[in-house]
């Protein structure tokens, strides 16, 4: 199973208490923000704080992402230098519009990696698409670099660019969400959904998580620890789904042993995509700790 990225919790980069405690809540990834969450006058302070936190605090297996400032302002380059030196897992680019945005940041990352002797390519990247042109270029962005692990939607800027606003049903985001999932799947990287800003509206949040799961997203950005558990619950397979998938995997395994081309389970024909989905679900169940035995060992 590849890495779980069901939740990516945003943490303001200039808040020492939050940087210290962020990993206690169980998010799959943490995103330390040097961009929108930090005032212009405090960009340097946040950069030093994140740099030292990354070098000192043990975040265990939690993936650490840092959202840097764009390269078209004075802060972006210094952000990259600091976080690559500190050993960050993933650098997130804000407001990505073309593949050239990715390539420009990649060039700076590589320069720093070479300078400090860090393995070239070991700093991963992810792109946040926050405009109409970014959505149109989603596939070219998603395939622009081997470092890219995912592509995310940043909805607030996107809806402003689209001359609309966010509505409860999320219809205004449907096109962008679909485009991003399709681009991510075609490129073989993760698709990550935008934040849900109203932390007090859990009903609306849960509805949105169910929708993005249905669309195919791997996970969602969250802004409050209380949003983590519902996402993980929605992304966890049910006992019934696990049982059904295990039955399919076993039937497939048995058919292979017997050299059978067509597989049947409880009178229903099972074909390749169904087996693939079942295997993925079992792997997910193992990854989230709901099933212990590795299905590969059963084959």
């Amino acid at each position: 199973m590849e890495r779980l990225r069901r939740t990516m919790m945003f943490v303001p980069g200039n808040n020492p208490g939050m940087l210290r405690d962020a990993c206690l809540y169980g998010a799959d990834s943490l995103m330390f923000d040097l961009e929108d969450a930090v005032a212009i006058s405090e960009k340097d302070a946040a950069r030093f704080l994140v740099y030292n936190a990354l070098k000192t605090i043990d975040y265990g297996d939690t993936e650490i992402v840092v959202r840097i400032n764009a390269l078209d302002n004075p802060f972006g380059r210094a952000d990259i230098e600091a976080v690559v030196r500190a050993g960050v897992d993933v650098i997130r680019l804000p407001k990505t519009e073309t593949k050239d945005d990715i390539l420009a940041v990649e060039a700076v990352i590589e320069e720093v990696e070479r300078k400090i002797g860090r393995e070239v390519g070991s700093t991963k990247m992810m792109a946040a698409v926050e405009s109409a042109i970014g959505v149109i270029n989603a596939y070219s962005i998603a395939t622009s670099s081997k470092r890219l692990i995912g592509i995310a939607l940043g909805a607030e800027d996107y809806v402003t660019n689209l001359k609309t606003k966010r509505y409860a049903d999320g219809m205004e985001l449907m096109g962008a969400r679909s485009q991003i999932v399709i681009a991510a799947r075609a490129a073989g990287i993760y698709a990550l959904d935008t934040v849900y800003s109203n932390v007090d509206n859990m009903e609306g949040f849960i509805r949105e998580v169910e929708l993005i799961k249905q669309l195919g997203f791997d996970g969602k950005s969250v802004i409050n620890p209380k949003q983590i558990k519902p996402v993980h619950e929605i992304y966890s397979p049910t006992a019934q789904e696990i049982k059904k998938s295990l039955d399919i995997c076993r039937a497939s395994s048995e058919a292979k042993k017997q050299g059978l081309g067509v597989i049947s389970l409880n009178g229903k024909m099972i074909d390749k995509p169904i087996i693939e989905r079942a295997e993925r679900l079992v792997q997910l169940a193992i990854a989230v700790g709901l099933y212990k035995e590795d299905i590969k060992n059963e084959k």
Binding site: P16, G17, D44
Partner: protein, 99 residues
Amino acid sequence: MKIIKEAIAGTLESSDIQIMLVSNKNAGIEIQLKSSVEKQFGKQIRKVITEVLKKMEIENVKLVAVDKGALDCTIKARVQCAVCRACGIKEQYDWEVIE
């Protein structure tokens, strides 16, 4: 590195530390610390501050620190930031000195 102006970094929020510093001409490093945990951690806080100053080649400075329970990594970050601000360094850091 040379201090050319007064500088401040950090906040008075919980888990943070506020560092104010100014050049001390040729009078060495002078640290004035205010912390609710001074009795238990005062020595360690002063040690971390002094180490960062020495690493950044600051030899004459008057520094006022108001600690609100900051971790060592936060203390380091705030001192590094205050020193860079005091030396008028923006973005073009010499990482070899800082690290």
